[in-house]
Every structure is written in C-alpha cells, then in structure tokens.
C-alpha cells in the first residue's frame, strides 16, 4: 500500500541527503520523492510516496531529523495530488492522427514530434497518468520521465467541491 507524506524541512544544504539516508538505513522503501521551495524561503517541502506498513516508524524517524519541522500523512482523498510526465511513444505516420486524437481526450500536449515518435507532456493526478500510459502502451513507449508526486492538503472549506472536480 502506498502512502503519501508531506515533509516540511528547513531549507538547508544536505537536507535531502539526511532524509534519503534515513530511509536507506532504516530499510524503508521510497516510491518517489520530490523536493522544492515553499511559500517560506526558510522551508522546503518534500512529498514522499512510500511503500510498506511501518508508517508510524517512518514519521517518527523523520521527526528525529533535526531539520524536519512538520510531517503530515495524507489520508486517501484528502490531498490534491499531481504529477507531471514526459512520454515518448512510437508514432508511425499512418497512426499519428489516431494517437493525437487519443492524446487530446487526455489533455496530453504534444511537445516534440519526430520522424517516428511523438513526445507528450501530461499533468494531473497520478491515476490519470497511469491510464494514459496504459493507452499509449498499445503504440509502444520509447521512453518515459516522471516527476514524482507533489501534494497539498485540500482546503477544508472547499473539500467537498474539490473532491467532485478532481
């Protein structure tokens, strides 16, 4: 089972190494990890997707790192989760139209078109990316890059509305 956690850390050199080293030495598996700035220059936000059941230990061990300020585990459905991916698929000139039609439905942007391939940019909830990949599998995926997940908790006041539109 995959869990999504947000880790607010002090924006200091080496903080990513501290977090990833802790995961490695405690034997916790990272599915994906992203890190970037926040609204506060002094803090960075990590979004970590982890496998495995030891969530309590993972959160406690994260808190033990001196530069960890706040750890939040998102219950399913309580966060806005997004991922970006670049996927290059085989696109024989004969099937190009068919592929582009399909991509349009998924709001995938063609960002590079070669002689025999098209590269799409897709942004959205992780499930949508997975569905698009499944669709493109039929044509043959040449290469793939994913950003890893980012997430923010939903604003409590608008939680219901957003759940419907996501």
């Amino acid at each position: 089972m995959k869990h999504v956690i947000a880790v607010i850390v002090e924006n200091k050199p080496g903080v990513l190494a501290r977090v990833s080293s802790m995961f490695a030495r405690r034997g916790f598996n990272i599915h994906s990890l992203t890190v970037g700035p926040t609204e506060d220059d002094a803090m960075s936000r990590m979004t970590v997707v982890v496998d495995g059941p030891e969530m309590e230990q993972i959160i406690k061990q994260l808190y033990k790192l001196v530069h960890t300020v706040k750890v939040t585990e998102f219950e399913p459905g309580t966060a806005i989760e997004r991922e970006i991916m670049l996927v290059r698929v085989n696109a024989d000139p004969k099937r190009r139209g068919e592929i582009l039609d399909a991509a349009r439905v998924w709001e995938a942007r063609a960002v590079d078109v070669g002689v025999a391939t098209i590269t799409f940019e897709v942004t959205g909830p992780p499930e949508r990316l997975a569905d698009f990949l499944q669709l493109m599998n039929a044509y043959g995926i040449v290469s793939l890059a994913k950003s890893g997940r980012i997430a923010l908790p939903r604003d409590q006041k608008s939680a219901k509305k957003q759940l419907k539109t996501a």
């Binding site: 850390v9 002090e10 050199p13 080496g14 190494a17 501290r18 080293s21 802790m22 030495r25 309590e56 230990q57 406690k60 061990q61 808190y63 033990k64 790192l65 001196v66 530069h67 960890t68 300020v69 706040k70």
Partner: protein, 569 residues
C-alpha cells in the same frame, strides 16, 4: 570596537563559552589552526594516540560526569578513525561533541590530501552534524551542537570545520538563542497517560520495572528509587542501567536478557505488566520478540518517541524525560493512596533468586575464574570504584558480579559492542572524576585493540588501573563456536604469552603486575590499589574454557535459558 578573531580563535572561545574543561584529540593539517589558540586557553587537551581513543575518552568522560565530552581531530583518516566512537556514542545515547578539521572549502570535492566526506560518513552515526562554511557561523553552530548533544535523547554531534574557515576573520559575537524549529524534545509526560499508567499498575499482579540507561542519562535515580519503594515493584536494570538502582536493594533483580540473571529474565517473561523507563526492547533483552513477555502489557516511558512502539507495542506510551515523568508518576501514585500488596509476587521472585543464583566455582588450584577476580576486586575496594569494561565475556561477568550502588560508576559499550572501549573510556572517566578509583576490566582481545592509549594515560598523568582478564581467547566468540559450531574453533585463540602484558605496561610507562594462581589474586589487587601516581596493569591468567551463563542463544526464547554447562547435555 568589535573584536576581530580568526575562526580558530572563535572555535576555542566558543568551547570555553560552553564551559568545556577538557578536550580529547590529536592535531593534524586541517585542524592545525585551532591548536594554536589552545595554547593560551584554559581548556585542557589530552593527546590521544589514536582518534578512536579520543572519541571513547570523550564518551568515558561524559558517562562519568554527565557533561558533554569533546573530541577534536583533523580531517580524512582522523575523522574516519573517529567514526567508531561516534557510532558507539550514538547507540548508547552518550553526549559528545566532535570537532573535525576539513580541507578548505575551495578544495572540498577535489580529492584533496586528507580529504574525506566526513559530513556524509558521520550523518548516520550522529544525532546531528554540520559542516561550517563561514567563520561567522561558528559561535551559533557550536552552541547548537552542545544543545543537541545534551538535551532530549542525548547523543553525539559532529561539527566539520574547513581549514579556510578556521583561518578566516570574523567579528566575535556571543551565540544567540538556539533556533531549531524542528527540535522540540518533550519533557513532561501527558497527564492522561500518566493516569492510565497508574491505573495499569494498580490492576497488575506481576508488574516488573524494566529500567534502561535513559534513567541514568536523565539523572532520575532518586525518583526511580522513590517510585519503586512506594509501588513495591521488582526491577530489572539493563546493561546500560546498572547502577541506576542499588544492587543491594531487595527489589533489584539485576540484569535481564541474553546473559541476565534467571530471576530478572524470568520475571519479565512471567510479568503481566512491564513498566518500561528509558529502555528500548533491544534484541539482547527480548530474545525472540514473539516469545518475549507474552502476557505483559507495556507502559513505555521514553524521551525519544521513535523508541515507543518500535520493537514492542506500548499499551500506555509516555513521551517525556524520565526524571519528570517519574515525578509525575510519584505524584499520581501518592494521590491514589495505598498501593496493591505485592508480597506474593515478591516472594516468588525472591524464591527464584534463592534457587537460581549466579554461580561459578573457583578451584583453589586454579585456573583463575574471572568471576572470582571481579568478586575479589569488589571485596577489596568495598565497591568504591568506577568500573569500565570492554566487550565480551569479561564485560558480562563484570555486569553480573559487581554490585553497583550508584549511577555513573559503570561504563561500557552496550549497543555497538565496541571491543577496545575500556582503556580509552577509563582515561576519559578518570579525567572527569580524578578523585575516584577508575578500574578498567578488559579482555586480552580488547586490550590489544586500544592498549596503546596506556601511553596517553602515563604521559598525561591519568592514573587508571586496568585488569586484563587474559584467557588467551576472543572468549565470547569462542563460547559461541563451542556452543553453536560443534566446538570448531576458528580464529578465536590468541597467544597466551604474546604480548607480555606486564612488559607492555612497563613499556608504556606504567606498572605491570600478574597473577597466575588464585592465591595471588587478592595480593595483586591490593598492590594495584596502593599505586595511585601511575598507570597500573594487572594481568590475570584466566581459565580459557570458561563460559558465561545464564545464556539465551541468539534469537531464542527467553523461556529457554541455559543456566550452566550441565544444561547443555
């Protein structure tokens, strides 16, 4: 006009500002700048012969005094040599600040001479570490390092200081308030949990106080005694907690676990409630966790939330400082009035103590048994000595047979099991408590790892005493080969005559004594105690076949402890 200092001067002044009296270390290229202002500083420097020794000295000093121990070494090989001592201190939650030199910031990453990635290598071996990149940061980072080392769950903190940072000029400023937004160690236990804990205690019929090194770290021995007496709960003290509670107290059942007393280990197995304070359900305590204390509910008091629920589910978790939480438990227990009568449970455990005492036999013709040496040392010193052990059979026997009556008189390497710990740690302990008799109990294997630190002790006039239990073996490993590898001994036999420990002691500037026969044991101990101006090494030629019992085989159930050689048949 604001005072201009070099980074090196700021570093030494920052250490003075923390009240540091002594540092253990060795100079070298990258840290050279810092050694110059040390000449004028009131801080004493003890020149170790190896950086691992400097680290263990800082650890022994911290154990004996409760203060932060400080090690100062250079970059590269010095920093890597120090790593063992850092990991050791990390496992045993010993407050240490290590200062390492580093190549200049402009050279970092270029494979410069004596460059090592100290920050990266020490990260998993420390509570926290920092690389200083500007001399201006020195006062604040040193302040933070001491704060982190000595608060919450104590531990080692490393500060890596590049050469050009030491050489740079900065405007001296006293450190500001510590600003660590992510570091807020809990002190007070949650009142609701404290009440829940006392509820469980009142309902329990066979409670056991399971006490670990956290009680000593928190300075909570008095509170522990008060709480034990008012609740009449029998207590086990782990290897790291020996001395947290007097061994002479009838409620003390001694050390539990792999080489614990029958009564301590079995009381936990039969218990319906473990009142755990500053202990961490280590595998040497629990044996196979599936079979450990199967009926027991658990109250777990620890300053480190990550320990709670890590190895064993806690019915009542209490995050807080052991001293404060014990005070809360005392107040709540007092409020409740009379506590349950525990006479029947106490009679049961005291019965076990009578039936299954720690036992050995000393044949008057020899060979010398290590237990006998320890008991003779205890008798002759009347227990008034700080005992510092290495790792192995001698360590287990020292923990079993010495009677510890107060905290900080027993120093050893528990979690990491670092052979060679005893001699340097004893040096650190003696520096911190110069009026106490500090007696290292070491094995011949351990001694050969760090024995050259005797030179440090001799030259620096730190008159420690070392008992070398020479069984010409890596005794504990040999014991495992005898028990679990059909007696096929592989690389566990050492020379009975090389080195000559007496000559070695003399060559290092100390006095060497030897006892080959049981009748000589008391005499050499008395001789050693009479010499207080020099290092003394007493070699005891011990039984190479002796084994430590009781023993729970690794990974086995604590119900299946082996009491003696006869149990093996």
């Amino acid at each position: 006009m604001p005072e201009q200092l070099t980074g090196a001067e700021a570093l030494i002044r920052s250490l003075e500002y923390e009240g540091v009296e002594v540092v253990f270390g060795m100079p070298g290229g990258a840290i050279l700048m810092a050694y110059d202002p040390l000449i004028e500083s009131p801080i004493r420097h003890v020149l170790a012969r190896h950086e691992q020794g400097a680290g263990h000295m800082a650890s022994g000093y911290a154990h004996a005094t409760g203060k932060v121990g400080v090690a100062v070494v250079t970059s590269g090989p010095a920093a890597t040599n120090l790593l063992t001592a850092l990991q050791d201190a990390y496992m045993d939650s010993v407050p240490i600040v290590a200062i390492t030199g580093q190549v200049a910031t402009t050279a970092i990453g270029n494979d410069a001479f004596q460059e090592a990635h100290t920050w990266g290598m020490s990260m998993p071996a420390t509570k926290h570490n920092e690389l200083i990149t500007s001399a201006d940061e020195i006062p604040d980072i040193i302040r933070e390092a001491f704060h982190l080392a000595s608060t919450g769950r104590k531990g080692p903190v490393l500060v890596d200081v590049p050469k050009d940072v030491l050489a740079a000029t900065m405007t001296w400023h006293r450190p500001g308030a510590v600003r660590l937004p992510g570091y807020r160690p809990a002190v007070k236990g949650h009142p609701r949990q404290v009440k829940a804990a006392v509820d469980l205690i009142e309902q329990s019929e066979h409670p056991v106080l399971y006490v670990g090194g956290g009680v000593i770290a928190a300075g909570a021995a008095e509170e522990l005694e008060q709480f034990a007496e008012m609740t009449q709960i029998p207590m086990v003290t782990t290897l790291m907690a020996r001395g947290a509670f007097p061994d002479s107290h009838p409620l003390n059942l001694g050390m539990p676990g792999m080489h614990g007393t029958y009564t301590a280990t079995t009381a936990m197995q039969r218990s319906d409630l473990l009142v755990t304070i500053g202990a961490r359900f280590d595998d040497r305590i629990t044996g196979d966790p599936k079979h450990f204390a199967p009926e027991a509910k658990v109250i777990h008091v620890d300053v480190d939330p990550a320990e709670i629920g890590k190895n064993r589910f806690a019915d009542v978790p209490i995050v807080g400082d052991a001293k404060t939480v014990l005070q809360q438990l005392i107040t709540e227990t007092e409020r409740r009035g009379p506590q349950p009568n525990r006479e029947e449970w106490l009679a049961t455990v005291h019965d076990w103590q009578g039936t299954y005492p720690l036992a050995y036999e000393q044949n008057p013709e020899g060979p010398i048994q290590q237990q006998y040496v320890i008991e003779e040392m205890l008798r002759i010193t009347e227990g008034d000595a700080t005992i510092v052990a290495g790792v192995g059979q001698h360590q287990m026997w020292a923990s079993q047979f010495w009677r510890f009556e107060e905290p900080r008189r027993w120093i050893n390497s528990g979690g990491l099991g670092t052979m060679g710990y005893a001699i340097p740690a004893a040096i650190g302990a003696k520096v911190g408590t110069p009026d106490e008799v500090v007696f290292a109990i070491d094995g011949d294997g351990c001694f050969q790892m760090t024995g050259t630190e005797l030179i440090t002790a001799a030259v620096e006039n730190i008159p420690i005493k070392v008992a070398v239990m020479n069984n010409a073996s890596l005794g504990m490993v040999k014991q495992w080969q005898n028990l679990f590898y059909d007696g096929r001994l592989s690389q566990t036999e050492l020379s009975p005559t090389v080195p000559d420990f007496v000559k070695f002691a003399e060559a290092c500037g100390g006095v060497g004594l030897r006892a080959d026969h049981p009748s000589e044991v008391a005499e050499v101990i008395e001789q050693a105690l009479a010499i207080n101006d020099r290092v003394v090494v007493v070699e005891f030629t011990c039984d190479p076949e002796a084994m430590v019992f009781p023993m729970v085989p690794a990974g086995g159930s604590n119900d299946d402890l082996i009491l003696s050689r006869e149990d093996l048949a």
